[in-house]
Symmetry: D4
Subunit: 245 residues, 8 copies
């Protein structure tokens, strides 16, 4: 059952306009009052709704998970607050969790894994939590992921040594804090799209990731686009779209 | 008794200039030393004084409440600090409280409820605390409120489905964090004034609400004005003025 | 002829879905390639489309004016570039212009003038161009306007002397540069909504209007909302909505 | 002849290390003193070197064009200064130019045109120069381009009317100034990657594109990445990489 | 004994250059290694050294107090950290403290009190901690202080009622957060210098006092200068210099 | 004739309330429509109204000058636009002008010159225009001025050599761009108030005077307050108030 | 064994290209998965790898220390988190620690101490933690260090008294918060390079060190360069390079 | 004749204190009123005074040049305004000029050229004007300079090809705009100090060099310090100090 069907039945006079409206609504989201869970998103964008936990009360989060589980949706939650973990684990024992990356997930329908890979590259060890948010998200949506961590520009031979990983990827996510120079260097040696993720790693004039963000936006390399600071999730979504073409 | 009367008695020689001065002062505010409670504000602006709790010590807050209760004023306090709740509830058991919205209130004279409504709309579930500050404030001043939560632009059919709520309101308060795009979309489909409230929901380059604030100030839609980040209270005051015209 | 009619004819089988689509499109906007002139906006928002000239080439501007004139629309253009005036005046002799306010306008259907008034108040003489953008816009949409200029807070008796103008308005637009304090003072003495317009007047740490903008967003007065720096037009649109309630 | 060949001949003792070095260098770039023209870039990244004209003297620009023409390279120059046009047209009559988009280009080897398309969408008419920089760049590299201009969120029916264009594209470039909300709305209705380009269109608190940039970085939609303000060129390069997968 | 004496004895041959150097050093500061306590400051600037406690370890603070007490200096410490109070009170029972203002002080030589007064005015109750830092500092240096608190511009009659306090002061310190408009209004009605102190009171676009700071720097009133955000101490020092002329 | 007289006549019944209102208004300002010239300011603040020319049209400026000349006021205009000079000189041959400082002035009643002096000190030669705006303003209001230019901290012996000038002043204006360090050094060696004026001299990370402004606001010296960037006028007004105590 | 040797053996046919690759990699870094420890850095830059602890988990930190100890490297760790100290001290009893400076270190090969000295100078006592990070780092790499603390510009005689220390150093590190003026004054009196370190000491408009950073970048003195806010470590590295020339 | 001599004669009674003062002043600077030319600077810092032309009137500039020529000083002027060139060349035909770098210079005593070299490296061709300001300044002070231009990170083989230039320099100046990544890469492969110069080359989110500045301040490489945006002169001064050790 989808929207086109409903409209055809309306045109054919099988249902009234009011009935059509009700059916379309039921198809597309559930109104919990505090949230309108968007079941239609996967149809439109290829991704089911993901729970952004920041700023939500634990009651709202668990309510949304329950509603999605009932519909048989795959579950992914990001940016979980430290003190919400215990409730989540108690109430939903089926959830997988990664506290470093601050995400939880559960598959009801495991998607097939792609042959082509997304390479996820970090400048430093401190950037790993953001990289893992990206990696888990990408895997959640069925992508093969290649991790290449701690190959920042201050020791550029570490990057050069791993050129094969870079060159074989269909799309790359490059994660860096501080001066955020790594995407420019990577972008200069590959012919695949690079999605740059600035991280808030650094201090002083890093301004919680502004320095890295600006560096990446001004990259002199070709084929580099940027997402929000620490937004591993967003980078993985776009990379997944590209990887699945 | 009001200022005009006092001035006429001065002119008529019934009171001295010193007496006139004393009477006018007594009429208009009470000097607690640390605060000059403005009883005259309702006459000037239609709103009694509201207690902005941020930065005030608990002693100052309770002192102001006491002074206002003695005068029979309606009480509304906003931005309450977490650790002030217990003192407030102990000392003033008549107070209504909403911890999520960080407000307390008490009516001594319940104002009549308007027929026309203020619609309060949020982009996400995380914006609800700010929206509730607005909703409670609006209701405190006697307005009918219609809540429409979690209808952000990434799933625009959820908004389109509820056009009736939007179109029937006399004035709208639209609350959004992140990119703050919702007021532009709403402003494009209604012919009533839209008061946009940016929230500090988001991370990284949201800069605690700056991104949403700037988005709203630059709205390409007509009829949108903006208040401070997270300022549900201020939006409700202006909306109330408009709704009561 | 409107959208509802078209949909009913579609349902009744009088027109095909393709025909319905064409008719709805023709009803609502004209596609010039470089612009999609929105004839439907007045129906939705109460305002016809206004031409924001900044960044548009003179060819695009004249093309849009011509398209609107052919449809019999009222014309209003804002933020006109200095070197576009002569072409506009040559090509459209019917246009009224105000170079200080950088606007042009032409009525094909003069709207009736409201009884109630919008007060437009400035802190200084230098703020007048922005105030006039607001005043002309408000008058264009059929509002009565009361101007009160150069009553800034450094000589507060000038404001106090004109309290009657302030108090009799249904809604006020308060325009100020530098520290932008005037809306707070005005907001403290009236019970009507105040729409504050920061201007770029000032130097140094005024940062082209940021100081005034921030001052207004943080106003301690009740009932004040804010529009973009120098946005007299936007303030007038919202004021018009309120004034016409 | 490529690097691998040279290294094999070195290993085979056919050339000395010095000879190998010279050959590799000649293969990869030409040193003009003020510029090292990177002939090897196409091999690495799939794109030949492009001339970023900002800040370069006209002598340096013409020198680089001449060097590239001699090698038979395709020529693309961006961000041309107003007063450089006449010299460029005099000296290189074969150049195509677009002054609005500030680019020039010339093909020596016309690449084949892709079947799949890049959709280039703008919020307003004023955003067209940036969109055209993207469109010409994309076409220069052999991509089919679909233009959809002036469909901003204040009149969202114009966007809805053209859903087909949006949905049929393999990748989308969405160009917007002011509040930059369009990519979020587009990202919510398509399942292809969206590359958002903020423009410097706006005034006051748009801060020359910062408002749009922040809005796009904070997009609540999935699959949106961002490039620098006014960087139509960069968006086109990444879109081309994706479109050609 | 002072510098002039030492130099005369050097010239007269009564002491060697080395001796002169030693004597001048002993006269002027004591080197504690981690601090060079400046006993000479009072001679140069009229103020003895004051202990700025922010960022100093408790050991450094107590070491400096001890060194100053031994020299018989008056003691004033500002910006004390919450968890340093108990050590300070235990170790130096003679200290007066004010935790709200975060200062401690002790007189060994009580200066005489001036006849003329410094008026210290606040916009709100929340600004009192900063105002008290100023008031205590001013009194520490022997100034008479008049406090006038909670007279912000949203209820301007409270200010007008107390014009006498404003007009009788030799110099005024005006303390305000949020939009920081009060100094402009006060500066417009007095003929004495106004030292404006922005406070970090506010939220959202107050940016911890930036809005108030910018407002004050851009004051349209005459005779207003500004000190750092929350810098009651600095304002009091300059006010004291002026009050003692 | 002053306000007190008018009020007494009102109380005595010699005039009506309407007459009193008219008389008070006439006494205090003249309404030119585009400006309300504040003749009462001198009574309140000790300074007659000064014409801030930035953003005013030449017609408004000449209109205000004419109105003030008719009332016999002293004239001072600041921040004159380059292309207004010729009209001003033609129309008002009695004006003194200083183009470097961008000011004009004319005395109808020359005030007496003070015995005590204001020292005006600059860090560099490039700061002189701002210093001269201060110097001319101070002299306009009857102050003796001592100029000490180009004594910045990079050659601190130049400052030390002129300690006498610094120490003999009753109040100092210290003008500096770039890092703005001079007020801290001067403030450390004098016991008079220092008013610091940041200038927009510098480049790059001076951000048109922000670096100097921040440096001065954070001065570790005692007795330093700050005015807006390039605001020589404002510094002179406050200095004049202090110098005349 | 070094890279040159390996390449010669490759050329001589003694090893295969695969073997050469393995040998070079083993020579230069160890891949721990989460980190690629760069043993080759000392050869390239003169400094062994230093552990930047910010943002790293305690497991990653101890893993890297262990890997380095096994290779016999000297150990230096910076920016240690408060709650990591106990694990570090338990697990590696050989580590020296300085909690104020937040560093740990251990020598396996003590480098010889230089004859020439690096002078490390602070404006205040509160700047000492950053200065000590620099001092310990410099000593770790074998430099003689002269400390001169609390000689800020508000009491410039304290600096002048210690000119000998300043003048005898081969290179100077000058550490200051607040207005950051000290490097300019020091730079004006020495002929050796000055490396300026802004600190986050201050409040309000110091913006966590931005004021000091901007002041130092705009220094009018010659020979001053700047490192990141609170980056004592970076300053010491460059100073060590210069001191060892 | 130097200061020590003068002081000894004072001590010996050969001159009075007044005479001593006069002699010391004459020795060290010449007071032109608008400038105090610092002839003593070379003695203190190793560099004669350099004329920073920004913000100075042409009369002041020529006055300073004349005074310096009379004393036989070497002349260097930076940041010359476009319309000052003709006067300078007419009045001082002996001046060398470089308009691209905006500098003029003239030697009266040619310093000897160093054997060791300063390498000056740029990321792009557009950075050359800043690099030339550095190169000419360095040569003016007697340093050998190696130029290596247009070796930015997007084509990193161009840098790798020229490792010899990088490795043989005693100190490096690395000039880059946009993301400013080059100093990090260079700093990772050399063991000499790197002075990074951000340039204002770029657009949009480069914010006139802020992106590059922040990138360089946050460099993950060791031994990198930074000067102001576009400050080639300052980098050259420090590099010269280091190169001459």
């Amino acid at each position: 059952m989808n929207i086109k069907d409903i409209l055809q039945r309306l045109e054919a006079g099988k249902i009234t306009r009011d009935q059509a409206e009700q059916e379309i609504k039921a198809l597309s989201y559930q109104d919990l009052g505090y949230a309108k869970v968007d079941f239609h998103r996967r149809e439109r964008t290829g991704f089911s709704e993901v729970i952004f936990c920041e700023g939500k009360s634990i009651d709202h989060i668990t309510g949304i998970i329950s509603a999605m589980l009932k519909k048989g949706e795959n579950i992914l939650g990001t940016r979980v607050k430290e003190d919400h973990w215990s409730v989540l684990q108690d109430q939903f024992p089926g959830l997988n969790i990664n506290k470093q990356a601050r995400v939880f997930w559960q598959h009801n329908n495991q998607p097939p894994i792609t042959e082509s890979a997304i390479a996820i590259v970090t400048a430093g060890t401190s950037d790993i939590p953001v990289a893992e948010e990206a990696a888990i998200t990408a895997e959640f949506f069925g992508n093969r992921v290649e991790r290449l961590y701690d190959v920042g520009v201050a020791g550029i031979h570490r990057l050069m040594d791993n050129m094969e990983v870079l060159r074989s990827a269909k799309v790359l996510i490059v994660v860096a804090g501080m001066e955020g120079a790594l995407p420019s260097v990577v972008g200069g040696v590959v012919d695949a799209p690079v999605i740059a993720v600035p991280t808030s790693i650094g201090y002083g004039a890093s301004f919680n990731g502004i320095a890295a963000l600006l560096g990446m936006l001004n990259s002199c390399a070709i084929g580099v686009s940027v997402v929000n600071i620490d937004n591993g999730f967003g980078a993985a979504c776009q990379a997944s779209m590209i990887n699945k073409i």
